[in-house]
Symmetry: C2
């Protein structure tokens, strides 16, 4: 199972993903679910995959084969991020259609988070559904999730704000992963996390957090202790029982 998270901030973007994949009980492997497409100074794009690994690997392979071909599938030739995300949606549709007859209903499904910036335009963030259509993050909906999304959602709903700094939002993103990994053992480290500062047009803040990463462990421990204290500080029930 995968958990993927994208956060749209005024200051930039955060994208994060775990690296665990399982194709049956005996085949739990670590795979890179985040791909970075970079032309420093011109464009930076981040692609994050969840779902059937055969589907998502085929889509990223087709994307790579089309680089600098100048064709309609060339991410580097797309004039806008909207055009670029449409390429991804189309490739996803094609792959699901090709594999579909040989798989159970929905078995080949996959989804993507796609974000980045092209020189002269704003930074943007999208979620591509298995149907190949997509939605965009906005100030009112500043984060998007794919895969195992529920465990990590409550902390986002309580704390994410598009005005958070990249540093603050990084904490929240990692805590959202920590919550997910505690509650679902099939989501696991390492966590790949990229912080993109709007306007920088370069992917120079890529992090990988292993399970023994000192910062991740310290953050998780401090948060758990702080949360237990917080609950202790909460008022106890003062409403009289009904009967």
């Amino acid at each position: 199972v995968t958990y993927g998270l994208g956060i749209l901030l005024r200051d930039g973007l955060i994208l994060a993903s775990d690296s665990r994949s399982n194709a049956g009980v005996d085949q739990v492997v670590r795979v890179k679910k985040m791909t970075i497409y970079e032309q420093p100074g011109a464009r930076v794009m981040f692609l994050l995959a969840a779902g059937n690994l055969a589907t998502t690997q085929s889509v990223t392979e087709y994307l790579e084969q089309s680089f600098d071909t100048g064709t309609l599938q060339d991410l580097y030739a797309a004039a806008t991020l909207f055009d670029a995300v449409q390429i991804i949606g189309d490739l996803l549709r094609g792959q699901i259609a090709r594999d579909g007859p040989y798989l159970g209903a929905g078995e080949g499904d996959a989804s993507f988070l796609f974000g980045g910036q092209i020189a002269g335009s704003e930074h943007r963030l999208f979620l591509v559904y298995p149907a190949g259509n997509f939605i965009e993050a906005s100030e009112r909906c500043p984060y998007l999730q794919i895969g195992e999304t529920k465990y990590g959602k409550p902390i986002l709903d309580r704390t994410i704000d598009p005005d958070l700094s990249l540093e603050e939002a990084t904490k929240v993103a990692l805590l959202s992963f920590d919550a997910t990994m505690r509650s679902n053992l099939s989501v696991g480290p390492p966590i790949d996390l990229v912080r993109y500062r709007a306007g920088s047009l370069t992917a120079d803040q890529v992090h990988e957090f292993d399970s023994d990463n000192a910062y991740l462990r310290a953050l998780s421990k401090a948060y758990s202790e702080g949360l237990a204290e917080l609950v202790q500080r909460m008022p106890v029930i003062d409403t009289p029982p009904l009967g």
Copy 2:
């Protein structure tokens, strides 16, 4: 959608449920999902339902029709809670089998939390699956959930301990509901919550929390503010980026 939670403490039990049910977009209604069976001084049992409302209402109806009949389906005649939960599992199997041919696969499914105490025995807590089989809570697995379980799980994983007092565990239970209601609008108040003190053999601490309940609102607000402060206090990332 329903969220139901049961917590097994050394001091007793907590069972809580929301009250929203939807059978299609236009039929969102409030229903009681918690039933209390009480013979003060002799036995107290709590039943909490999730899933297909037709299924769960039929099961509770059959239970009621069998009260004091002395038959094998009589919850008040069951010698142990194990025998009692088996009655519920059997009735659930029967109802799903009866309705199954007229419904889509899994459509009639339901699950229950069942807990209580019979004089002379320990207090216990069970989860009955749609298959009619069941598991029991224990010191190592002190809480059980039914329905929309994921949003409310992280706070339980971080804070529930069988040694918590009923008052402390009530806070955690309500915060687990608060997290769920924030992230899934189809889980909604009022929340029915019962606290059972082991050995009391009476259901005298039954609460109903409406959306405008002063305590629930104060708790939710204080927790959200406290959580935002907690995240702010967390250390910022000190790991250098990979590139």
